[in-house]
Symmetry: C2
Subunit: 454 residues, 2 copies
Amino acid sequence: VSVQLTKSTEKIGVGLIGCGTVGTGVVRLLQEQAEYYAKRLGRRLELRRVLVRDPSKPRCNGMVDRALLTDDFESFIETPDMLIVVEAAGGRGLVSGYVRGALDAAKHVVTANKSLLAAEGAELFALARKRNVAIAFEASCAGGIPIITALLFGLAANRIEGLYGILNGTCNYILTEMTQRRKTYADALAEAQDEGFAEADPALDVSGCDAAEKLSILASLAFGAAVETATVACEGIDRLDLSDIQFGAELGYEIKLLAIAERSQDQSRSPATTQQAKLSLRVHPCFIRGDLPLAQVHGPFNALAVYGHALGHSMYVGRGAGQMPTASAVVADLLNVASGWYPRAFSEMNVWLDQQPPAVLSDPDDLTSRFYLRISARDVPGVVAKVSAILGQEGISMGALLQHEVAAGQFVPVVIVTHEARQGAVTRAMKKIENLDVVDGSPVCLRIVDLPAG
Amino acid sequence: VSVQLTKSTEKIGVGLIGCGTVGTGVVRLLQEQAEYYAKRLGRRLELRRVLVRDPSKPRCNGMVDRALLTDDFESFIETPDMLIVVEAAGGRGLVSGYVRGALDAAKHVVTANKSLLAAEGAELFALARKRNVAIAFEASCAGGIPIITALLFGLAANRIEGLYGILNGTCNYILTEMTQRRKTYADALAEAQDEGFAEADPALDVSGCDAAEKLSILASLAFGAAVETATVACEGIDRLDLSDIQFGAELGYEIKLLAIAERSQDQSRSPATTQQAKLSLRVHPCFIRGDLPLAQVHGPFNALAVYGHALGHSMYVGRGAGQMPTASAVVADLLNVASGWYPRAFSEMNVWLDQQPPAVLSDPDDLTSRFYLRISARDVPGVVAKVSAILGQEGISMGALLQHEVAAGQFVPVVIVTHEARQGAVTRAMKKIENLDVVDGSPVCLRIVDLPAG
């Protein structure tokens, strides 16, 4: 005990870049839990300097002494006895320079910045390795859920076979509102904006790009291969029709925007192989069975289902955004880095993201899945006959068919669920179906993702 | 890269105690993933010795060279260059002596042995601390789910407010069968035994004792207080009646055997306090809302819902038992200990389990909850009037009432759902109700656990 008491008089200097929502949350935790963290760590975390754009503005709800604020990076980085820099500013540009400057000055870096890592991760990790410091980034993916910790350490014995993530809380909130309250996409989006879940410009979220950035980081860790965000095939939720969500519910499915990374199916059967896996990487809305735990992840919550070759299915659920959930992950990283084991874990476990070979992608047309198709039919018997013929030509067999009575003379929605089929074959069939004269407009096609039994 | 190649020629010696189901899984992973682990670790894990009861029997499916087998602990522990001992034998008695012997010989220990840790954890950790070695125990609770890693590191910034776990796969399997296939307890248990989920003597599982042991370990970590298994209030599933599960389903609830550890309710409102929390510790069957993700954890799966003061709700799901899921956790520990950071994390993060003050328990009678009551009534109007009066005397108000038509002259089940009430008041009311002449037998009383909104 005496050793600890002596140690607890020591201090570990921390610098903070950015004092917006997340930065304020970090400062709040460091102040309110100071005693608890000092006891855990045997040393005291001390905020030494805060880099902000305008030091004359009150920052961090007045919790930070103005004397600590600076807008000058050179002065910030030269703060004495500053061991760790927390980057809570977000974005790239200037911030990228700050992070590089901090690493170059041999500071450990804790960051929540997924965009920066997704785009420049390899370069940043190379720099960190050169300077023998850590980049900790638990908060960059799925907010407060300790999923990076799980992938790097808790699941270390497993060859990962697949990741299935709900990684964007805005999209999940919108889909939950559409599903549970039968709102249209436009109404649900407007409400998400009112509630503060969605940005004024929601494009990054609803297009799936935000989830794709997170997936590229998670897949790199899980598969030991460098994944570029641009190689993730991406479809958003902005063109989803409420009627498809309702038809899906009738069939026992729930709609989710899933970020998926999986070994191509022929390879997942021999997980022991050391040859580099071919990966399927994609973000798209899809149906999953309604009785899966993943289907019950509602509203702003995030989740990641992971399939390991030894463990099988495991799943991690929690808040993927927001001030305190994000600060929870940032401060966990800070504690783990401050204790000295996290930098060591990075070097000893070879988890430097710059040392991975580039990911090898599987051909998207080779992906097999069940599919949900909705066709707007002028003449139901004629459509079913012609559509069946086209599907048959492409080797696709039908599993279920759903059609409701409507008033005569209207276009009738006909819903078809296929058995397992190749993506390439379905794409070709959809083009032929669209050209049928008894069909109105483009058919709707959504994948039904059957999570492995694991 | 050249540094890694040099390092990978180095070897880390591993000893294994016990080569039954889990031990065989560990050996299988070490052999089948040898290249992958060597690449991760930069060094090769090498199985040097295996301690078994009878070295003449073929062990580990013939994967282990007979020359490595011994039944002599002295010879085992003196094996040269053996840095880490994996204990996969289970139980206490002799095994306790082996683990103490290994720690005393300054070997790091990896164990899946919850009973040993729950009973002797503090002594073992004191010994480990004295010898400056680690005890890693991810596999001791919830099998392959990396929940120890999450509590120790991923959630380190949080003051934990509550744990709600499905920690026994046998019970969860039985309850799932009762719920989904309307089997009786006896039939579901027999089936679990046929399927290999339940032991021939299921008492430890169905009584809740197994879950209580795991809870005592998890609660010690989460709350920084030493929890003795005997202080966990324990009710099993063996007296559950199928009709209660069905009435619960009608009301929108799912039955689960939950292991619960929470700060007493008055204290959870001020999580920043450094004074030691009063804890409520219990394992009992209860109803939870059917639309919660936790309610969708079916069959042999385990799950732990954790409430942190910063993160709020997070949940971890996966297989809680079985050869490869357990081996997944054991080998993750082995990799993390072999890398050198896990021992360091233990010393730097002050997570030695022997240094905690004893847990302070809250008064069980002070626990508030909603309650499900089922009364067997001879005369429904008379019973409802008399029961209402008794509940009113105890300050308990009724939320819902459910009663089905039955043939005349039979006893009629009357189901009552209370609003929030104190446990002590409900216990008193139940005694009075039992004594009513219009009531047959003992009323059934089950808690309805409302997980925090978080």
